[in-house]
């Protein structure tokens, strides 16, 4: 393990949200930042290399933005932990606090908390250009003097002030600790807080001014209904005792401490910020009159969401086509250069197929995050939460959950990634648990096939098929909202959190930052979720592929030999008769054969008939063999084993195999059914052959297998069950646990089984078939 002496110094960059903190981080680190997770929780930890003016390297850390270091959950505590170096986290040598010049006093509040920890601090003042239009200046030298730490103006988007900032960081690195802060806790408060300092865990290294800062943090973070999981009971008890003692004396400690900091700000700020009023919101006000208008605002919001929806559905489609085309070409090429055999199959169908299953998600992920990036950067995302708060709150969801919910109509995988835009773990979890219920595009091939089997074109009303499809959309959406409501009151219960939402002024999006975010999201997806999806894809492929022995009375090898022998004999005969050297002519029903002299053409036509039929027989034989192999594969056996479980839903074991295959991805159901029914794996939902096969399929007792009721039951099952290993893998990655993906699978399958049971058994009781 490298010691701190051999590693470049760590410089943390902290600040309020919407201050341009990440833009600054990006400008300082170039393109080499790496995203990882903080241990145990799913908050991104972004670190990148930077250079000091002397040429010495530093490591820059992008600390998640927050208004205060106080925290009511483990996720929020990461800001303190990363800055103060608590637990396993490395303590930074210098902290750069980014301050939005247009909202300076609120930004200074957090800067004060950081400075109280006793670390060397450099202040970076952003958004100064927004002020400059108003002949409003902040005197950075006076600010440095008033606060006792270096202060630098930066405009990260124009790369201005970056050298000065790094020079200030280099200067700060020469100090072990920051200077004593010029605001001192009143004696009466300090005495009350002192017992908490003694109760701090030794692992937090509570020494010097740091002890008081951490004690103040504890007092402002621990209470009756916080969501901290890793706080020592001794500390919690001491905080509660101190707070109760103060309350008994009529003292509100929290208010006293917060007011103490703001008193300093109010006293010091006029010396460096002459005009504390800013007009930065005025430009946004006009826009907000429109965008937050009860009627027009909602209409514009719906229009924006329609664009997002359309993009994920229609625009992503050609890109998905390219990805699939490229993967297909790679597979074809690999197959052409490799000898036939097991290794080739493993490589082509298993590995390349599995990689295809991963990268196929990239277009939709990138498009969704492009829109999210634009909405976050411009400030519109806060308005989305504003507009959707009431609707989403009624079922316990966060207003921001609307974007993931909407995008899950296209695909649940990017939607689950998008739950990151919510800060609270509970909000993220609740959204992740219901997003897989929405009708994603992978269900469409299955729906199309089953609806076509259920309502053949030309039967029913002219709108029956479309109405059924629409009904499935409504059904899934309503059910997702109901489930959200139920889960938010049971499994994912949590204290009701008041909405305190900042409305940042509208700003132009910063494209380099958005592009970099897209690249990071793609990397994180490929690295973390992609590996799990790849392994799962190969496992499911292997389940359906092995053992490769058809468990059948039929002697496929013998039959094949017989047909091939006959083919060769016939071809020889034809070649002899026509004087042809090859067997190609045998399959030519027109073209070359038609050019032959009349009598000869008639001869060859007569001879072609049985040969074409023979070749067809050979293809049929191969399909039958594949079907028999599938039946006998491990997946097929699982399908058969499932029969007693799925029989009450009206499903037979063949559908069971289809359900096993569908866990790779729902649309695989169609191809699997194609193989089982001997049509070949290239069958799609539009194949008339597959539709007819399903319509005519009979059970052993001679009744139809795909009765309308069975189709309906299957549709309901597909609507509800989370048959998607990619979604499960994504939930696993985003919750950093096995518990939640397991819960998701169990509850959706239980729900699907129950709903299908009600449909099938209830339908039968009512006399439907």
């Amino acid at each position: 393990m490298p010691t701190t002496a051999t590693r470049a110094p760590l410089v943390a960059i902290a600040g309020n949200p919407n201050t341009g903190k990440t833009t600054l981080f990006n400008a300082l680190t170039g393109k080499q930042a790496k995203v990882a997770n903080y241990p145990g929780i799913t908050v991104d930890r972004t670190e990148g290399p930077g250079r000091l003016p002397s040429g010495a390297p530093v490591r820059l850390l992008d600390v998640p933005g927050s208004y205060s270091l106080s925290a009511r959950s483990e996720e929020e505590r990461i800001s303190l932990a990363a800055i103060a170096g608590l637990g396993p986290l490395e303590r930074p040598e210098v902290v750069v606090v980014v301050l939005d010049a247009t909202q300076l006093s609120r930004n200074l509040y957090m800067a004060m908390q950081v400075m109280e920890l006793g670390l060397p601090v450099v202040l970076a003042l952003t958004m100064v250009d927004t002020l400059a239009d108003k002949q409003h200046k902040i005197d950075v030298e006076a600010m440095s003097a008033a606060l006792g730490v270096p202060c630098v103006e930066v405009t990260a988007s124009k790369k201005a002030g970056l050298d000065d900032l790094m020079a200030a960081v280099e200067g700060a690195l020469e100090h072990e600790a920051g200077p004593p802060v010029p605001w001192v806790l009143p004696v009466e408060l300090a005495e009350r807080v002192a017992p908490i300092e003694l109760a701090l865990p030794a692992a937090w290294d509570p020494a010097g001014p740091r002890a008081q800062a951490l004690a103040l943090w504890a007092l402002l973070s621990l209470d009756e209904d916080d969501e901290h999981e890793a706080i020592e009971p001794g500390l919690r008890a001491e905080v509660e005792r101190v707070r109760a003692a103060a309350e008994a004396d009529g003292l509100n400690l929290e208010q006293e401490i917060i007011a103490w900091r703001y008193r300093f700000i109010d006293a010091a700020e006029p010396s460096f910020n002459a005009a504390r009023e800013t007009r930065v919101h005025e430009r946004s006000d006009g826009l907000d009159k429109l965008l937050l208008h009860p009627l027009f605002g909602f209409a514009i919001f719906l229009a924006c969401m329609t664009v997002v929806f359309q993009a994920l559905f229609a625009w992503a489609d050609p890109m998905i086509g390219w990805v699939e085309g490229a993967v297909g070409a790679l597979a074809t090429f690999t197959a052409s250069v490799m000898p036939d055999g097991l290794v080739e199959d493993l490589l082509v169908d298993g590995l390349i197929g599995g990689v295809g299953a991963v990268v196929v998600f990239l277009p939709q992920i990138l498009l969704l995050f492009l829109f999210i990036g634009i909405m976050e950067d411009t400030g519109y995302m806060s308005r989305v939460a504003f507009i959707m708060d009431r609707v989403m709150r009624s079922v316990g969801l966060h207003g921001r959950a609307f974007v993931p919910m909407l995008s899950s109509f296209a695909c649940a995988v990017p939607a689950i990634m998008a739950t990151r835009t919510m800060e609270r773990r509970r909000d993220k979890l609740l959204t992740m648990m219901v997003v897989p219920l929405m009708t994603c595009s992978a269900r469409l091939p299955v729906y199309t096939l089953l609806i076509a089997v259920l309502v053949p074109v030309g039967t029913g009303g002219p709108w029956t098929q479309g109405l059924l499809m629409a009904a499935l959309y409504v059904f899934s959406t309503v059910l997702a909202l109901i489930v959200a409501g139920v889960l938010s009151k049971t499994v994912i219960r949590g204290p009701k959190v008041p909405l305190i939402l900042e409305m940042p002024p509208y700003r132009r999006p910063h494209w380099p930052s958005i592009l970099r975010m897209l690249r990071q999201r793609a990397t994180v997806f490929l690295r973390d979720a992609g590996s799990v999806i790849l392994v799962a894809a190969i496992i499911i492929w292997a389940l359906l592929e092995f053992p490769r022995t058809p468990n059948s009375e039929r002697d496929f090898a013998g039959e094949r030999q017989a047909i091939e022998a006959q083919l060769v004999a016939d071809a020889d005969g034809a070649a002899d008769e026509n004087g042809l050297t090859g067997t190609d002519g045998a399959t030519n029903e027109s073209g070359a054969a038609a050019d032959q002299a009349g009598a000869s053409a008639a001869d060859s036509e007569r001879l072609d008939m049985p040969m074409a039929a023979l070749e067809e027989a050979l293809v049929d034989l191969e399909r039958d063999e594949t079907a028999a192999q599938l039946e006998n594969s491990y997946g097929g056996r699982i399908g058969r084993m499932l029969e007693p479980v799925i029989e009450p839903l009206g499903f037979d074991w063949k559908m069971g195999i289809g359900l096993v295959g569908a866990f790779a991805a729902r649309e695989v159901f169609v191809g699997t059914m194609g193989v089982i029914y001997g049509i070949g794996e290239d069958a799609d939902e539009g194949s008339p052959m597959l539709r007819d096969k399903l319509r005519n399929e009979q059970r052993p007792d001679g009744t139809k297998a795909y009765t309308p009721l069975v189709c309906l039951s299957l549709l309901v099952f597909f609507a509800l069950a989370c048959q998607c290993m990619s979604t499960v893998a994504m939930v696993g990655r985003e919750t950093a646990s096995w518990r939640w993906p397991t819960f998701l699978v169990v509850y959706t399958f239980a729900l699907a089984w129950l709903a299908s049971f009600v449909v099938y058994q209830g339908g039968q009781l009512l006399g439907f078939t």
Binding site: S68, A259, R276, T278, L292, S382, R390, L499, I500, E502
Partner: protein
């Protein structure tokens, strides 16, 4: 003294006292919503049950139900 939720636009007002959950009070105070601080009502969205306020140059949205837990004084 009125609840913050009843504030009219362009009525100068100062925060008087906060009520409600401890974390709600703390969050608001850390954003500068301290007793004595000037507050301005920007807009109310009755349909959404929300109210937007300005304190110390910051725009913050609250639910009306929660804004009833904050008292303001108007001259």
């Amino acid at each position: 003294m009125h609840p913050l939720a009843d504030l009219q636009p362009d009525t100068p007002a100062r925060l008087h006292s906060l009520d409600g959950d401890r974390s709600f009070q703390r969050r608001l105070m850390e954003l500068g919503f301290l007793p004595g601080t000037a507050v301005r009502m920007i807009r109310r969205v009755p349909l959404g049950g929300l109210i937007e306020l300005e304190v110390r140059c910051c725009r913050v949205t609250l639910r009306l139900s929660e804004a009833r837990q904050v008292q303001v004084t108007t001259p």
